[in-house]
């Protein structure tokens, strides 16, 4: 079978992106911030629309708006009003507005689905290089700010009260999340990018006894979901982005079932 260039690019790009999403996604899980990630992604769509409208590029617009949204929304989480609700409202306004702006632009109207669900098969060589660079930078920075982030995730108010959670690391984490969301828009789209951030870490959870092990396994599972999803997409002629998410979901189901079986076996042994 001949594997076309675009498939190589799609597989490699999605794998690298999903791998970079793994460790950052762990923090999103540990700190119960999935809804923030989702709203940042929704704002990213508005960013893409505004970027196209102003004639800069969609990626730049997405990244800019996602970073701003992430920083603003994390501050909202400090308030006493229901932060989840506030973040949800802002995110959905961003999604709706982004959708409206995109649909008003004649030339890109046909690409709407691509922005919502990604268009990984359309990755160019330049996209691939950009994603590879982003993946390396994200993983590198995550490693550098790992300890203060972990302290904040494990200690919550303790770390904040004792001065153990560096605000710089927190900001760094939010920017990394936003950058992943921006680049993920092309791969799995605004509606599904959060799936790449939360499903591989969730799938990795039963396989790990330390935070580091969970992050590494999340990266590996994410990277594995990409080619699996692409293969499924190729076989079924279904869209690639959703198939990658489904593959990640299948891995999650597998590790969850395996964990349930092994824990019930342990319980039997104990009895």
């Amino acid at each position: 079978m001949i594997i076309d260039d675009f498939l190589w690019r799609a597989g490699l790009g999605a794998s690298v992106l999903a791998a970079a999403c793994g460790p950052i996604g762990c923090f999103i899980l540990w700190r119960r911030m999935a809804y923030v990630g989702e709203s940042v992604a929704h704002m990213g769509l508005l960013g893409a629309a505004l970027g196209l409208l102003m004639g800069v590029n969609a990626l730049l617009g997405t990244a800019a708006l996602a970073v701003i949204a992430a920083l603003v929304m994390a501050r909202a989480a400090d308030r006493t009003i229901p932060a989840g609700t506030f973040v949800g409202i802002v995110g959905h306004i961003g999604l709706a507005l982004g959708f409206v702006v995109l649909s008003l632009m004649e030339t890109v109207r046909t690409d709407l689905l691509g922005y919502l669900f990604g268009d990984v098969l359309a990755l160019t060589d330049r996209d691939l290089i950009a994603i590879a660079a982003v993946g390396i930078v994200v993983l590198g920075v995550t490693a550098v700010i790992w300890k203060p982030l972990l302290r904040a995730a494990a200690g919550g108010p303790i770390a904040a009260a004792e001065g153990g959670s560096s605000p710089l690391a927190q900001t760094g984490f939010l920017i990394l999340t936003a950058v992943l969301v921006a680049f993920g828009l092309k791969v799995v789209g605004a509606l599904l990018i959060v799936a790449l951030l939360i499903i591989p870490p969730a799938a990795a959870r039963p396989l790990a006894k330390t935070p580091e092990a969970m992050a590494i396994r999340a990266a590996i599972l994410g990277a594995a979901a990409a080619p699996l999803g692409l293969a499924a997409s190729l076989g079924s002629d279904a869209p690639a982005g959703p198939c990658i998410v489904l593959a990640a979901g299948a891995l999650f189901a597998l590790t969850s079932i395996a964990a349930a079986i092994s824990s019930s076996a342990l319980a039997k042994k104990a009895r």
Partner: protein
């Protein structure tokens, strides 16, 4: 007395039409145990959070430069999605040897390799205390630290807290609603109900009219030798018969 570890002046917090804290001034020195008591919703936890810098508040808070704080929050639920053992949790905040010694000190050395999320409430309370003392803080801040600890363990842990004050020569700020165990080991009681109703040594506070109004007559606390000279109405109020 020496320079206080932390000084608060004129702390006030108003939420809507509700005054949560009204003009609170407080200083904590090295080597003293200060206990804040007050009914539910009297602003105890809010005051603690303000002193820790976790919430913004009107007024002035001065920390001694380089002040190291050990904090045990009232509520702490490790997320089960985070795989982390007790010793790893302690390592994040202090050296490994210090962490092990602290676990030993609070009597839970055997929890060393357990996952945080599998601990019971009482075990978690001890682990949190161990974590707070592992880094040898100047000021220990304990917010209802022993919820979930059984009664016998509770008494032992309050003894331990008093011993820790001497060992670490730290100041201790404690919030509790459990008057029984608290009062005996405390140097200074601060009675809070949005404002400071009264403060001073436990036996003095226990006789203060403001304390009596909030908690009723608590001569059952046996803080000083006394003769029981009254009965109680069903509501708990004292009925004097002479």
């Amino acid at each position: 007395m020496t320079e206080p570890l932390i000084t608060a002046r004129g702390l006030s917090l108003v939420a809507g039409r509700l005054t949560i804290l009204n003009d609170i001034s407080l200083a904590i020195h090295r080597g003293e145990i200060v206990t804040v008591i007050g009914p539910n919703g009297s602003g105890k936890t809010t005051l603690l959070k303000a002193l820790l810098g976790l919430i913004r508040i009107k007024g002035e808070i001065v920390r001694r430069p380089g002040l190291r704080i050990g904090y045990v929050p009232q509520q702490y639920a490790p997320d089960p999605s985070l795989p982390m053992t007790v010793h790893r949790f302690l390592d994040l905040f202090a050296g490994h040897a210090a962490g092990c010694a602290a676990l030993e000190r609070v009597g839970i050395a055997d929890a060393h390799d357990r996952q945080l999320a599998t601990l019971s409430g009482g075990e978690l309370a001890r682990v949190l205390l161990a974590r707070a003392i592992a880094a040898k803080p100047d000021l220990l801040v304990l917010d209802e630290p022993l919820s979930g600890v059984d009664i016998s363990g509770e008494a032992a842990l309050y003894h331990l807290i008093a011993d820790l004050r001497d060992e670490l020569s730290c100041g201790i700020l404690l919030v509790s609603h459990d008057l029984h165990v608290v009062m005996g080991k405390t140097d200074r009681v601060v009675c809070l109900n949005h404002h400071i109703c009264c403060q001073g040594a436990p036996h003095a506070v226990a006789q203060d009219p403001a304390f009596l109004e909030l908690f009723g007559d608590r001569s059952d606390l046996k803080l000083y030798p006394h003769h029981h000279d009254h009965a109680h109405s069903p509501s708990g109020a004292a009925i004097h018969d002479h």
